[in-house]
Amino acid sequence: MNSKEDVHKLVSTAGLLLVDAMVFHEIIAAFHKEIPTLSTLISSANLKRELENSWQYIIENINYEPVLEIALNILMNMPASAALDKQLRSLANLAYDIASSKVLLRHDLFGRIYHRLLLGNLVKYHATYYTSIPAARLLARLLINLPSDLDAGGVPPTYNKEPFRVVDFACGSGHCFRLFIRRLTQDIGLKVKV
């Protein structure tokens, strides 16, 4: 996997993970005043170091290790340079524009982008396939509406007289779960604990 195209995709994937983490950072900053916002970070002299410090702090003191750890590792393994600093600022500006649109964030932007932009040859390494939102909605609907042993009349609901459980063995971004929970809460009126 050392062809120019493969290297390009690999670095693009790293870039996408960084943008993802930056968007996430901006959302966390809205709830934790000790975390600087992206615009504060962008205006700092050393963006790479500021991001590393912030993500380290979030992982150690708040949470979100699964999201930020890989991005932090990517960043820490990239040697500092003027070119990298300039490129990180481009990524941060992009992340800022995405984070400022609530609607974009609610349409599983990163899953769709990952699928459309980057899968290509990399799919064989991850063995992943992105389930589109309409397909996930259909799956959720079939699960609830097709005749089955699901009894949603009580709390907790039961399936075949056992407490009802849902497992997604191939859970990725979690939108299958999310849409399934929405079906349960909206169609059946269940109060769901996640």
Binding site: V7, L10, G15, L16, L84
Partner: protein
Amino acid sequence: MSLREENLNVILAELLTEKGLKALGEVILRKKGGRPEPDVLIELNGVRIVIEGKKLGMWDVLVEQCKERLDNNVCDLCVMVEYADVKLRKLVPNQLDVKDALLKGKFNVGFLSYVDRAGLDKWMAVPPKPEKYLDVGFNDLLTYLMSVYSRVVKEDIMGPVIKRMNEVLDDFAAKVSTTISIERLREVLELEETEESDEQ
């Protein structure tokens, strides 16, 4: 008008469903169930449409309410209706009287969709055009709604965003790949090339 706006909204949604939306596909009408939800939500082929109606002079409130519905992902398309001239001829009208009044009434209507709220102007440099139509009858309202629905389902909000992301990530990859160790990056991303994966 002695009838509550909530009731008018529900009956208007029923009329829109009966008189036209059903022709476009599967329609599910959901009425408020005690939760903080809109009065009525129409699900048309999976597209969630909320109808927010208010008496004359409440346009700004309607716009804000619709923005909130879209930003909170309650719906994909929000219809704003100002009941400009809906005359109920009886003191205690039944449902048929209300339907008749709505069919003969005049409305100021507007539409906001998730496309408008995605902030595509940032990505395309084309500001969204807010739609508002004054003093329209029921049939015009239905026609506008059907046309806006068709546009919403065709619109690909991801297209411009992905285009720009692609450009930024391409540039990132082109400029950064020469300055980093690819082997190291592959390890960080936990990508290990194996014989098996090559064969797949």
